[in-house]
Symmetry: C2
Subunit: 435 residues, 2 copies
């Protein structure tokens, strides 16, 4: 009886009671909110989690003590997050950068832990890509250093699919499903318009350094002659002569040619062919916008083939009206797994997706030490691409095909998707403004 | 009894027995094939129509005697045309141009009627926009002149929505449904990313001279602060100072600004702001591609606000995965009505859509003399746009809202739409090749 009493006491002691804070970071995806829904719904099952807060605009909002009470949201709104694109909590590109700005980073950390302490935050979940996982890792390390009891878990999220150790990233299946459907549709349009003169259409998709998104459009191909006919990935240096020969050959065979290009395509000197070097984003990367337009100039100029461009831009990462159900379910699953890991006492990990079988496709989640993740980019393996470098091969197709299965069907109102907007009821600030 | 016998004989005599030819022309839409399905399905009900042929690549293919036998297609494939984008029969930009090339046009007409006679074509249906209706009108007039018994009816089809006399054009509802959904999604993405610096996203949509497509994106707006915040239509001369003031005001209020621009936006001198004057299309119009990029330069340069562009291009007119069911049904209805009109002895008309009620929305079809249609462009009325010219007003919204109702749900296979490809069984050529 005494022994039993001791065990119960121990279990209660081991349970970390406190509040939860979830926030989103970096470029959104179509299913970014499904992970937040997963966090909220799983957290609701655990008594040790008292309040469920959201940080507005990621770390930036948390530094400004801008928190919202997610327990105040209607259950239906939380469920609706599973089909609502864009970051429902807001996101940011702000990075706690210990390498480039150590003083600011140290100051930021002090402030973050002030906010955590003021609101008794004991569970912290951050959805994002490489930079955001790095931030989560720093927060975990700081908590250990400061002896502040916190469970910090990263939740993967990036259309770029470039996080290591996870089979793939939530957001990726949806972006390639939309891009592949778009390529299929454009091919029916352009192919049906093509007469003897021939024509070319170049579709630019996102992907600064990894070609995962461009590669994914290959799923539109059902027959060898189907579009896309050429896929240009940033991992493979652009060879103009070989490219022009391939376009010419394709137009001769089909009367049209559909090219998909990742925005970050580079020449043999490693320079981005569509970069405007005078514009930099918040992380100091050059702003890319012109790969398709540059290629169109080349095709039009050298082959005299009528060429048009499509730049999907933000549309591709927000197209929840044609998101992958597999992707949305996995995004939610990652959020749930993050909460369960934290409840189990883990901190300093990222949830990863583990593929247990490709056919039939089955996946589960695992955990990876954040030290293995942060700032490591995962590129398309060279042996997943044909020898001439113009298309991913069957290894890639086997990998990618299951990720686009199933359709998310957002409810509609007046012929348009009825997406959820959160109430965002503010948590009262208790600290002086950030200095 | 004798009288009865005479009536039956008369009816048989009045009935024009022969073959049907349907073809598609100009830029495709998401529902272009629904009209062809309507023609085929309605024609199948009438014994006087013997063979149902399709002309490959519009007039161009007919001149080359490239016909396919649509009776050979499976009923399921014909039904599948209702959700398949791109021109299933192929289309062309070729115009029988009596004004600019009268000799070639006369030669073309001789050849067309040779082909019609060789295949006993007595019913001719041509889906298209202004130029195609002009061609149909010429064919009708030539038939009368040549005393060749033919019923030629135009079927409206254009995303541009610029045909006169019809309430709207098949293809329009789908393109604005897709564009509005895309604007809504991009707004959730960009709005969620917007921090104090502010940002701007400029979405370029089609529309060479009419702003109907750009205007249609206003349906994404549910609240006054919702995107799109500014819509630039080619009918209204671009005023840079007023535009910049509006962007600045919007960013100050919302931290972000979504602009939709029709590709043919013009300055006060009537010059297209994004035109590359060195490139001309088959009709001699300048090729437009840069309105959004040009605006982005202006916003970035003058306001120093981070600006990104999206160019939907061909994707918008092929996005059958999110087509309007109202639009698809009306497109089919127009094809059916064309056949019924021809059976009734009419020729030289275009089918038009007549709105009988806006709320609840009800439409039917009518006929308009092709002389009233050809080469007349229908622009957005000025009093359907707000005084400052930056948004369509409630008159437009009342007009456009019903057109996007309902979702076409193409079947899927492997996570992507399963569109129909016709068998295209060729009709044997009987004539010498076109000289």
């Amino acid at each position: 009886m005494l022994t039993g009493q001791w065990i119960v006491t121990y279990l209660i002691m081991a349970e970390l009671i406190g509040n939860l804070l979830v926030a989103q970071s970096g470029g959104p995806t179509s299913v970014i909110n499904a992970s937040v829904a997963g966090v909220i719904q799983e957290a609701g099952k655990h008594g040790c989690i008292e309040e469920i807060y959201g940080g507005l605009n990621g770390i930036l909002g948390i530094l400004n003590e801008e928190l919202i009470d997610l327990n105040d949201e209607k259950a239906k709104a939380v469920e609706g997050l599973k089909f609502t694109p864009g970051p429902a909590l807001g996101t940011c590109r702000y990075k706690v950068d210990f390498k480039k700005k150590p003083e600011q980073a140290a100051k930021d950390m002090d402030r973050l832990f002030e906010v955590f302490a003021a609101h008794n935050i004991r569970y912290f979940f951050y959805t994002g890509g490489n930079d955001s996982q790095d931030t989560t890792n720093h927060i975990h390390a700081e908590a250990v250093k400061r002896n502040y009891e916190l469970r910090a878990i990263g939740v993967p999220k990036t259309i770029d699919n470039d996080l290591p150790h996870t089979d793939h990233c939530p957001g990726y299946g949806s972006v390639i499903k939309y891009c592949a459907a778009t390529v299929m549709e454009i091919a029916l349009d352009v192919g049906g318009m093509a007469t003897d003169d021939g024509s070319c259409c170049i579709i630019e998709v996102m992907g600064r350094s990894a070609g995962w998104i461009a590669a994914g459009s290959v799923l539109a191909k059902r027959q060898p002659s189907d579009a896309p006919h050429i896929i240009l990935m940033p991992e493979i240096a652009f060879n103009e002569a070989a490219f022009l020969a391939k376009v010419k050959e394709t137009v001769a065979a089909n009367k049209f040619c559909i090219v998909v290009v990742g925005e970050g395509l580079k020449n043999t000197a490693g320079e981005e062919i569509g970069a405007d070097k005078n514009r930099l984003d918040a992380f100091g990367h050059p702003v890319l916008s012109g790969a398709a337009d540059r290629l169109a100039e080349i095709v039009q100029g050298k082959l005299n083939t009528k060429t048009r461009t499509v730049k999907l831009g933000y549309a591709q990462r927000a197209a929840a009206h044609y998101a992958s159900l597999t992707d949305a379910n996995e995004a939610a699953m990652c959020g749930e797994a993050a909460v369960r890991a934290a409840i189990d006492g883990r901190s300093g990990f990222m949830v990863k997706i583990v593929r247990s079988s490709s056919s039939p496709y089955k996946s589960t989640t695992g955990l990876q030490d954040l030290n293995d993740i942060a700032n490591v980019e995962h590129f398309l393996p060279r042996d997943w691409v044909t020898e001439d470098g113009f298309l991913p091969n069957e290894k890639f197709v086997e990998y990618a095909r299951p990720l686009i299965e199933g359709e998310v069907r957002p409810p509609t109102e007046g012929g348009l998707p009825k997406y959820v907007i959160l109430e965002r009821s503010r948590v009262e600030k208790t600290l002086p403004a950030r200095s």
